[in-house]
Amino acid sequence: MSELFTSVEDLAERIPDGAKVAMAPDYSGCSMVTARALIARGARNLHLIGVPSVGFQGDMLIGAGCVETLETAAVTLDEYGPAPRFMAAAKAGTLKIIDGTCPAIHAGLQAAEKGIPYMPVRGIVGSDLLTHRDDWTTGTDPFGEQGGPLVLVKAIRPDVTLIHAPLADRNGNVWIGVRREMMVMAHAARETFVTAEEIYDGDLLADERLAPGTIPGLYVSALAEAANGAWPVGLFGRYGPDDAHLRDYLDRARTDEGFAGWLDEFVYAPKAAE
């Protein structure tokens, strides 16, 4: 089990260029510290999957040129407004965007979780989303009871799920509480890399109150302890976003030069100083 624990830098090394990486939105568990390590190592051509959306993490990776494809239901910074680097990349046409919708992303991951090639999904029919997706098609109820076409969403199998969690134990069990979309992400992905705020002294699966919110170590490929690992976004139940930093980021990221300066200060400089 000892090889389970590693460094944040190693996690970033083990996410290869071109990998399909599932990530959580800002309100869930974002391993921002690994996102910075990915930028620092010069990751390229990543296919990000927002489950079901991405926020600052996506914006930063896009801005740093790490992302070729973005598959998501939305890019949202919530009350902070539009995502500047995403908007710039969308305008420049340098980003391939695969527009989806939340339940279809959840369903695609559930299909991968079950090893089935697709999952039927309600709704969506009549949306222009459908006309632009070659990994969605339509079908009908084989039992002939429920009317209307049904959208069939192809399984989404990430190469890597990358998340940050409040607790992990020595066996690689990871507590994510009610944020169970991260559990589906772990089940669906080939590998799951986790940073944990804190190492729990004991077996998370042995506590009847903690076990129900725990991803078993079975699904976890590698783990790094990283206090404040979600910074500058928040971590549910632990700390809120660093409002001042995020507003400063938004201000700088309005321009290429400003964003480059932010990268120098917060991504490259800490690395160089080591």
Binding site: A90, T101, H106, R122, G123, S127, R180, V184
Partner: protein, 247 residues
């Protein structure tokens, strides 16, 4: 209209009026006015209305991850939900993706979120967009994130009920596939609505004014509801109800 009625209070009361009698209303993240409306409707319901606030840590209603809202809607357990749009057209189509010829959008919006699904499944979807301009309310959206109407062969148990803006309320008529002006907010008028609306809609002979909340509703809103709203939207609650809180 009370001189000190905030525009947000009128909108909250207006939306709340569309929720009375329902069993369960879900409210998405970053929706302070719909959220406040749902909490007001709950306060008036005597406990029969359940409100699921999705952006709220204290009210987190779900325990099965991000999919639960959508599964719950498919089970028929959600009576009302709120959607907006970067563009909304006269058939109640909404566009959350961008302006221009997709995928080469000139202006990019955040994305469709769950709209393509919930719009077809939740019986009473209330479109809410404060900005009421011809830029937002267009003849035809550039991209249909979620369609306002569907052909008969589409299984559809949900759809648009009304469109509430900063200037007026439109009711949606699914049979006619178009909006009708239902009421104009105090201080606005039908000509102004026409000027700032890019799509065509029906207008009744007499256009009523949007009803302002009565004293009892205002007291509830500024008291108990303001406190509840502050748990999820502290800045919003302070701005809109701040004076009442200090009283």
């Amino acid at each position: 209209m009370s001189a000190d009625l905030a525009p947000e209070e009128l909108l909250i009361a207006t939306v709340a009026g569309m929720l009375d009698g329902l069993r369960h209303v879900a409210v998405g993240a970053q929706s302070p006015i719909p959220g406040s409306a749902a909490l007001l409707a709950r306060a008036r319901s005597g406990g029969s209305l359940r409100v699921s606030m999705l952006g709220s840590e204290t009210h987190s209603p779900f325990t099965d991850g991000g999919r639960e809202l959508f599964d719950c809607a498919a089970q028929g357990r959600i009576d009302a939900f709120f959607l907006g749009g970067g563009q909304i057209d006269g058939q109640a189509n909404i566009n959350l993706v961008g302006i221009g010829d997709y995928p080469n959008t000139k202006v990019r919006f955040p994305g469709s979120f769950g709209s393509a699904y919930l719009y077809l499944l939740v019986p009473r979807v209330i479109l809410f967009r404060e900005e009421h301009t011809a830029r937002v309310l267009v003849p035809k959206v550039d991209f249909i994130s979620a369609p306002g109407v569907s052909d008969d062969d589409v299984l559809r148990t949900g759809g648009p009920h009304a469109l509430v803006t900063g200037r007026c309320v439109f009711a949606f008529n699914a049979d006619k596939r178009r909006f009708a002006l239902a009421s104009v907010h105090p201080g606005h008028d039908a000509d102004e609505i026409r000027e700032h609306t890019g799509f065509d809609y029906d207008v009744p002979d007499v256009v009523p004014e949007t009803q302002t909340p009565n004293a009892a509703t205002l007291e509830l809103l500024r008291g108990r509801v303001a406190d509840e709203v502050a748990e999820t939207y502290p800045a919003f609650a302070a701005r809109v109800f701040g004076a009442a809180d200090a009283a």
